[in-house]
Amino acid sequence: MSAPQGTESEIGLLDQARGGNRFAFEEVVRRYQRRVYATAYRIVRRHEVADDVAQEAFIRAFRSLDRYDPQRPFGPWICRIAANLAVNHVRSPQAREEALPDGHAETPSAAPGPLQGVLETEARTMLDRALEDLPAEQRAVFCLRVFEDLSYKEIADSLGISIGTVMSRLSRAREKLRGALSPYLAAAPGRAGSSPP
C-alpha cells in the first residue's frame, strides 16, 4: 500500500462518513482503532478504560466531522480527541480512586518487537512499569509528545495548561524514565547515537 493511495481512500471514506454513511465510518474506525486504542491505553493504563475512551473518541469524531478539515491528517486529530478524553479520565476523582490492577495479567502487555536486541525483556518491563508509575499528568504529557508528536503549544492547548508546565512535566517524566532505564541504557552502546536538533 502506498501512502498516496491510502490518503486518497481515506479522504473518500471521510467524505462519505461526513454525509452520514456509517459504514464508511466503520471502515475509518477499523483503520485507526489500533492507534486510538494505543493512545488511550498509554495514558489510562487499563484496558477497560482505554476501550471506553477509544469508543467515545470515535463517536465524538463522528459528531464533529463537519468541523474536520479533510486536508489535514485524520490520525492525529482523532488521537488528540482520544488523548483528551484519556487525560480527563485520569484526572477524574473516580480514576484516582481506582487502583491499577496488580501486575499485568489483565492488561495489555508490552509486546516484543524491534526493541528486542536493544533492550532486554527486563528493560522493557522496567520501562513499562516506570511509565505506569508516572503521575498521570506527566504520563499524559509524555505520551502526547513522544507518541503523538505534538508541540508544546499543542499539548498545552489540549490539556489546558501552560507551556512552562508542559516543559516541566515532560522533563520530570523523562528523568524518571531515564532513571528506571539507566542501567540498561549504559549497556546499550548503539543507543547513544541520537543527535540533538
Binding site: M1, S2, A3, P4, Q5, G6, E8, S9, G12, L13, G20, N21, R22, F23, F25, E26, E27, R30, Y37, A38, R42, H47, D51, A54, Q55, I59, R60, F62, R63, S64, D66, R67, Y68, R72, P73, G75, R80, I81, A110, A111, G113, L115, L119, L127, D128, L131, F142, R145, V146, D149, Y152, M167, L170, S171, R174, E175, R178, L181, R191, A192
Partner: protein, 383 residues
C-alpha cells in the same frame, strides 16, 4: 552558562528552547561529556518508549468497529430519524463502501397510521351524503372514532418531542466537542506512513458510478449481516452477503436487512402481502439450515479451555455460515458462553476479554433478543 544544563535538555531535545537558551545549551554540550551523555539517554528513553507496543485482549479489534457504529447518534438530517440498514461492513475484500440503504422505524409507520386514522375517520363519518342511517353512523362513530384530540396528541407528538430532544442533545454535544486543530506537514507525512488501510483509492466513486439498478431483493435472499455480525474476521458468508448488500433495492422496496419476521412486516407495509410468505409464528427450527450441525454443537461438552475455545469457534462459525437461521442468535450467545467457560476452566484473561467483547457487541445489536441472558453472563464475568 557554566553549570550543567540538564534541566533544559528535555526541551532542547524537542527543539522547544528559545534561540538564546538553545545556543547556550549547545555551547555547553560541546564541552561537557556528562550533559551530552545525559541528552543521549533522554533521547534513548523516547526511542525505547516508542518501541513499546500495546496489545489488547485477543479479538478486541474485531468487535470495536461494530460497537462504535452501534453507538453512533441517529442521523440528524433524516426527517423522521431515518435508521440505517446493516449491509456489509468491511471493504477489506472489495475495497469500496456500499451506499447506505435506509428505512423508517416501525414506530413511524404506526404513528403515521394513527394520524391518518385520526384525520380520515371523522371526515368519513361526517359526510352528509353517506347512505348510512344516522343511527348506524352514530354507532359506528362512537365505536371506532377515537377522541378528537387523542391520536394527534398521543402518537405523533411524542415522536416529535423525542426527535427534538435528540436534535437538541446532539447539538449540545457538538458544541462541547473538541475543536480539531491543524497539523503541520511533518505530522501529515507521519500519518501517511502510519496508514494501515488496504489500497482502495478511487474505487468508491467508481462503484457508485457504475452500479446498475438491480431488481428488488427477494425476501429469501435477505441476509442478517453487517457490522453487528459477530465474527472475528470477515467470513465467506459475510463476503457473499456483502455482495448482496451492494445491490441497492428499488426505492419503493428499500428496507433494512432484518430477521425474517421484521422483513415480513415491511413487505406487508409495502403492499406485497399477497406475494409474501405468511410470517411464521415460530421459527421453523425443524427445517432450519444447519439444524443437524446445530444439534451436534448443542451436544458437545467442553472439559478443558482448549475444548471450550474450539466450541466457541465452532459456534461462531455456525452463526456466520447461517446468519439468517433462527438458530444464529442462540449460536452467538453460546459462543460467548463458551469463551466464559474457557475462562472458568483455564483462568486465561484473554478468554474473559473475548467473552466480554462478544457480549458487549451482542448487546449493541438492535436485535439483541437475549440481552438479559448476556447481561447475566457479563455480571458473572465481572465477579
Amino acid at each position: 552558562m557554566i553549570a550543567h544544563v540538564q534541566d533544559h535538555l528535555s526541551a532542547y531535545l524537542d527543539g522547544e528552547l528559545p534561540a538564546p537558551e538553545r545556543a547556550a545549551v549547545e555551547t555547553h554540550l560541546r564541552t561537557c561529556p556528562e550533559c551530552a551523555r545525559h541528552l543521549e539517554e533522554l533521547s534513548a528513553v523516547d526511542e525505547a518508549a516508542r518501541e513499546l507496543d500495546v496489545e489488547p485482549p485477543a479479538g478486541y479489534f474485531d468487535s470495536l468497529p461494530g460497537r462504535v457504529v452501534a453507538r453512533l447518534p441517529a442521523p440528524r438530517r433524516g426527517v423522521w430519524g431515518v435508521r440505517r440498514s446493516a449491509p456489509p461492513s468491511s471493504t477489506s475484500e472489495r475495497g469500496f463502501i456500499p451506499r447506505e440503504r435506509t428505512t423508517l422505524p416501525v414506530w413511524v409507520w404506526a404513528a403515521a397510521a394513527v394520524l391518518v386514522l385520526a384525520v380520515l375517520t371523522p371526515l368519513t363519518f361526517q359526510k352528509t351524503t353517506s347512505p348510512v342511517p344516522d343511527a348506524a353512523k352514530t354507532e359506528a362513530t362512537d365505536a371506532f372514532r377515537p377522541a378528537p384530540t387523542t391520536p394527534s396528541a398521543e402518537a405523533p407528538a411524542p415522536a416529535e418531542d423525542s426527535l427534538d430532544a435528540a436534535r437538541d442533545k446532539a447539538a449540545t454535544v457538538l458544541e462541547r466537542n473538541v475543536a480539531p486543530e491543524r497539523k503541520d506537514e511533518k505530522r501529515r507525512e507521519r500519518e501517511k506512513a502510519n496508514a494501515t488501510a488496504p489500497a482502495a483509492g478511487g474505487r468508491t466513486s467508481e462503484y457508485a458510478a457504475r452500479r446498475p439498478p438491480p431488481p428488488p431483493p427477494a425476501p429469501s435472499a435477505q441476509k442478517h449481516v453487517g457490522p453487528w455480525a459477530q465474527s472475528p474476521a470477515p467470513s465467506q458468508a459475510q463476503s457473499a452477503a456483502r455482495e448482496e448488500g451492494q445491490v441497492e433495492a428499488a426505492p419503493e422496496t428499500k428496507k433494512q436487512a432484518e430477521p425474517s419476521g421484521k422483513s415480513d412486516r415491511d413487505q406487508a407495509r409495502a403492499g406485497a402481502v399477497a406475494d409474501a410468505p405468511p410470517p411464521a409464528a415460530a421459527p421453523a427450527f425443524a427445517q432450519a439450515p444447519g439444524e443437524d450441525r446445530y444439534r451436534a454443537l448443542l451436544g458437545r461438552q467442553a472439559d478443558s479451555p482448549e475444548a471450550a475455545r474450539k466450541l466457541h469457534d465452532d459456534w461462531n462459525a455456525f452463526a456466520r455460515s447461517h446468519p439468517d437461521s433462527p438458530r444464529a442468535d442462540e449460536a452467538r450467545v453460546r459462543a460467548m458462553e463458551a469463551s466464559a467457560l474457557a475462562f472458568n476452566l483455564g483462568r486465561d484473561p484473554r478468554d474473559r476479554e473475548r467473552a466480554r467483547a462478544a457480549a458487549q457487541a451482542y448487546l449493541a445489536r438492535p436485535d439483541a433478543v437475549q440481552a438479559a441472558r448476556v447481561r447475566a453472563l457479563l455480571e458473572k464475568l465481572a465477579r
